[in-house]
Symmetry: C2
Subunit: 100 residues, 2 copies
DNA sequence: GGGTTGCGTAAGCCATGCCTTACGGTAAGC
DNA sequence: GCTTACCGTAAGGCATGGCTTACGCAACCC
């Protein structure tokens, strides 16, 4: 749950959402990501550090490169968080309708 | 889809997530929200404006007060966004496994 | 081993964003 | 009508965060 909120904080940045999108298609190295973005490679590296701290991605050494991939557990955590709000909101609607 | 990304941007702030949580339980007025938070009422009003612009909440006049409630459509949009990434990531895993 | 490629971290700059106080405007109560 | 309660917006201060350049280190190539 606090897992999900940290993930949402990380996905609040548009650049990190783009990085997250591209990693969802397939795992990539840092430089490969940077070449497709209008920011420097260290900037990408910093974004990846945030995503990693939020549990959204994992990294793995591949020679001199470092491959990042998305972590499905984080997606599931956010989904569970959302569903909880969905239920609460529906209950609130129902309670309000019955009070009339 | 761009709907979902704007919603994620709005939910990136922890205070807005708290406000969103409380509105999910039941609709509330601005002052009522502010009394339960360590920030001023205008600050809450600004947060609500962001949430509203992101399509996460709707507002309705109630006399001198203004009631805010969460919009279920936004939650659904985010969920659809997440599911899309879930599928992509699964496909990437599968493709990688088959390449071995 | 020298050179190249790939990466993380540090330091610093600068814009963005969140918060405050102050103000004006509308709706309810007496 | 006057006062009170509730709210949105403006203006400004200040911290946070995202970006850059510079540096150091490890892994491949020839």
């Amino acid at each position: 749950m606090a897992y999900a909120t940290r993930a949402l904080g990380a996905l609040g940045d548009p650049t990190r959402r783009i990085i997250f999108e591209r990693l969802a298609k397939r795992p990539r190295a840092v430089g490969e990501l940077a070449r497709g973005l209008p920011i420097s490679r260290p900037a990408v590296s910093q974004h990846l550090a945030v995503l990693k701290a939020a549990g959204l991605v994992t990294d793995r050494a591949d020679g001199a490169r470092r491959l990042y991939r998305v972590d499905l557990a984080a997606i599931d955590a956010i989904r569970a968080w959302l569903d909880q709000f969905w239920d609460r909101t529906l209950d609130a609607f129902k309670a309000e309708a019955e009070s009339h």
